[in-house]
């Protein structure tokens, strides 16, 4: 075996160099680079791989299998119905409504939480008194379990509750709404609560990105005569773009799967006005014990996320990973 066969074996150039330097194959097995490499890889990757296969990959396959059956969850799978669960899902107005709501939340998260997170992160990146405290405060809601957030906000938002009283105290009584009962508003109520919960995460992520931008670049631009706005627009934001793209990815996947806060706040109601794909799935699967159908919904949701992830990877993230992950680094 020579360098090129080592490369052919997928071991990467470094391994090939090791191999070439190792000389004749007489060393004990633990000294043999190829075996050592494999052992290392096995030991380091196996735990993660086993978890991934056992708790992600196989369940997806099993769910896909279940989705072809009419199955209540009790007893054996003995009523195969082909693609009927899928065709019924797309004929059910409640499911279409849930998809619309999910997409609305996703777009709103990108369009509203995005600029908000960037703005706050930029502010919090400046030096001022109480900055650490403010950073903590902003991040605090993210630390709360979503169920706690749901219960807390359902109390705050109940008719004549804290929110209404605060609005009235500020002379804004006219803005009082049935936050959780008005079918035209309830989806946006959920969006606000979701924003409250998750915006801290986006801000912290972007702050980390901002820390990585060398000050020298900003200083150089300033010396060249750029004002603060110019520096932000031409230096900071472009350099922050990889972080923003990652944030966008996490936000979209999170929004597509949103369940817990919505479930505790409204259970997707009233009359499905705040349903999401995940709450619809729970209602049909767990509450109505129609697990075959719910498995089909799960597969559809997975397909949404997977297709999005592939496209995003191909068209948005690739430019960030090119040169890092696409070049052999072994």
């Amino acid at each position: 075996m020579n360098r090129s066969t080592a490369l052919d074996a997928g071991l990467g150039p470094a391994a090939a160099e090791d191999f070439a330097a190792a000389g004749p194959l007489r060393a004990p097995w633990w000294r043999r680079p190829k075996l050592r490499k494999r052992t290392e890889l096995t030991i380091l990757l196996a735990p993660g791989l086993i978890l991934f296969v056992g708790f992600v990959f196989i369940p997806i396959l099993i769910a896909a299998y279940y989705s072809f059956f009419n199955w209540s969850g009790y007893g054996p799978l003995n009523d195969p119905i082909g693609f009927k669960n899928y065709s019924y899902a797309f004929k059910d107005p409640a499911f279409i409504q849930a998809i619309e709501h999910t997409l609305t939340l996703t777009v709103a998260s990108l369009a509203i939480q995005g600029p908000l997170s960037i703005g706050i992160a930029l502010l919090l990146n400046r030096k001022f008194f109480g900055r650490a405290f403010l950073r903590t405060v902003i991040f605090a809601p993210y630390v709360l379990p979503p169920a706690v957030t749901g219960v807390m906000w359902s109390l705050i938002l109940q008719p004549n509750g804290f929110m209404d009283q605060v609005l009235k105290a500020f002379g804004l009584g006219g803005l009082v709404q049935l936050w959780l009962a008005n079918v035209h508003i309830v989806l946006w109520t959920n969006f606000v609560v979701l924003t409250w919960q998750y915006i801290g995460f986006g801000i912290v992520l972007l702050l980390a990105g901002l820390q990585g931008i060398p000050n020298e670049l900003k200083e150089a631009a300033a010396i060249d005569g750029a004002g603060p706005w110019e520096v932000t627009r031409r230096i900071t934001l472009p350099l922050l773009a990889p972080t923003i793209r990652i944030w966008g990815f996490i936000t979209v996947i999170g929004s597509l799967q949103v369940f817990d806060v919505v479930w505790v706040l409204t259970e997707g109601g009233p009359a499905g006005a705040s349903s999401t794909i995940a709450t619809y799935m729970d209602l049909e699967g767990v509450q109505s014990t129609d697990f075959g159908f719910a498995a089909a919904i799960a597969v559809i949701l997975f397909a949404f996320c997977f297709v999005f992830a592939l496209f995003y990877q191909r068209f948005a993230l690739r430019r960030d990973t090119r040169g890092a992950l696409t070049r052999e680094v072994g």
């Binding site: 209540s72 969850g73 009790y74 009962a181 409204t266 109601g269 009233p270 009359a271 209602l283 109505s288």
Partner: protein, 437 residues
């Protein structure tokens, strides 16, 4: 507490069914746990986990002492009490546990079509042979049968009606309504006095279903209701009439502001909490409601302030004017033969007169399955309910429990949607809901 199967009828039917079951026991059941009904569990030590919804006092305490009493007389049996919040227990934990390999040995069970479906899991024990000697004395036990076999035993029965605040009624100067028209008049006066007339927990959907189902009982003859549930088809015209009548009632604005987002039993802001705190004057609920109110309120004089009246009559309509909606709480068994037998012995203990007196007396959990213990009910409002229960034309099991799970849930969802937006399309959705695939 919310529960299922109806049952008042039935000593004769139960006796017949029990004899039939006894004759055929060991036959077609999917889980065979046959064996003698003697005290076989005395042989080895048996540990049982018990899932129930008694998360609040006083029933929690009653169940705890029941365990102590039972363990004292059955030293080889240990029971672990696991109280779980009702909706979580009913909708999530039990179905998932029955799909898993380690379901609780004793779990709460509301009978009807849902029990029938659970039996198909093959994990619910057929306890016919263990209970045959005493089940004939238990009211409503036939509601916990599937395929003619006993797969569970009720420990109390429930009736749905109006729980109202006597003090508020007196303050506003209104009396208990006997017709729907009177109820609407009362509502108007209550609203004028600053109260939410009626609280309803629409977020949970099933409280909405109680309303529609009562309209259906008033507007449809019993035979129509029975056959609709059996055939899972609500397309008979009287159900459309019920929807129309309910929509007309909704138009009178009888419920609290924002009722579509209110839960029924959780916290002070729930419909039960609103009645307990005096923000609302009444609520259509099952007779577990007083104990729920006690759990979410600090009102110490609540028990004397609560009254009960049946769903009002709608003179001239085609259904029974005194039929009641209700069900009961029961328990089913899973596990080995020894565990099933120990479970059955525990259920027999819970259905003994002394424990029945505890459950409906201090426990305030509805009506007893041993009719002689009705006198043990302490809450005056529940006494009224129990007295009316005996005179009712018939009791119909909550529709969502009488139906198998999916049609039942579809019906609840369709009714809740109708509550939110009553129109021709949502009304026809109710009629078609059970058949929705």
């Amino acid at each position: 507490m919310r529960s299922s199967r109806a049952l008042a009828a039935a000593a004769l039917a139960v006796a017949t069914a029990t004899v039939a079951a006894a004759c055929s026991s060991g036959g077609s059941s999917s889980t065979s746990t046959g064996g003698s009904s003697s005290s076989a569990s005395s042989a080895a030590n048996v540990t049982l986990t018990w899932w129930n919804n008694a998360t609040n006092q006083p029933l929690l305490g009653v169940y705890t002492s029941a365990i102590k009493g039972f363990e004292a007389s059955h030293p080889n049996i240990k029971i672990t009490d696991v109280p779980i919040q009702n909706e979580l227990l009913q909708d999530t934990k039990i179905p998932l546990a029955l799909e898993g390999n380690n379901p609780p040995n004793i779990y709460q069970q509301w009978g009807g079509g849902v029990l029938g479906q659970q039996v198909t899991s093959g994990k619910v024990d057929n306890i016919t042979s263990y209970v045959s000697s005493w089940i004939g004395n238990i009211s409503g036990a036939s509601g916990w049968q599937a395929n003619g076999q006993q797969y569970g035993v009720p420990v109390d029965l429930h009736v749905v009606g109006f729980w109202y605040r006597k003090d508020i009624f007196a303050k506003v100067g209104i009396t208990v309504p006997t017709t729907l028209a009177q109820l609407e008049t009362d509502d108007t006066k209550l609203r004028a006095a600053g109260y939410a007339p009626i609280a309803v927990g629409s977020k949970d959907r099933w409280p909405d279903a109680f309303w529609w189902e009562y309209f259906a009982l008033r507007d449809c003859p019993q035979a129509t209701v029975t056959s609709a549930i059996k055939s899972e088809n609500f397309s008979a015209s009287c159900f459309a009439t019920a929807s129309t009548n309910m929509a007309a009632f909704l138009k009178t604005n009888p419920f609290q502001t924002g009722f579509l987002g209110t839960s029924s039993q959780q916290g002070a802001g729930s419909s039960a909490g609103m009645v307990a705190s005096g923000k609302a004057a009444m609520e259509l609920q099952g007779d577990w409601d007083p104990s729920v109110m006690e759990g979410v309120s600090t009102n110490k004089s609540l028990s004397s302030e609560l009254g009960w009246f049946p769903f009002p009559q709608t003179p001239g309509s085609a259904g029974s004017q005194t039929a009641v909606l209700g069900g009961g709480d029961g328990f089913s068994c899973t596990g080995t033969q020894a565990q099933a037998q120990a479970c059955a012995e525990f259920l027999q203990y819970l259905d003994s007169p002394s424990e029945q007196a505890q459950i409906v007396g201090p426990g305030a959990s509805g009506e007893p399955v041993v009719t002689s213990e009705a006198s043990a009910i302490t809450l005056p409002a529940t006494q009224t309910a129990a007295a009316y229960f005996k005179t009712a034309a018939y009791e119909e099991l909550y529709f969502d429990t009488a139906l198998p799970t999916k049609p039942g849930q579809n019906l609840d969802t369709a009714i809740a949607n109708y509550f939110s937006n009553p129109n021709a399309s949502t009304a026809s959705a109710i009629a078609n809901s059970p058949q929705t695939p």
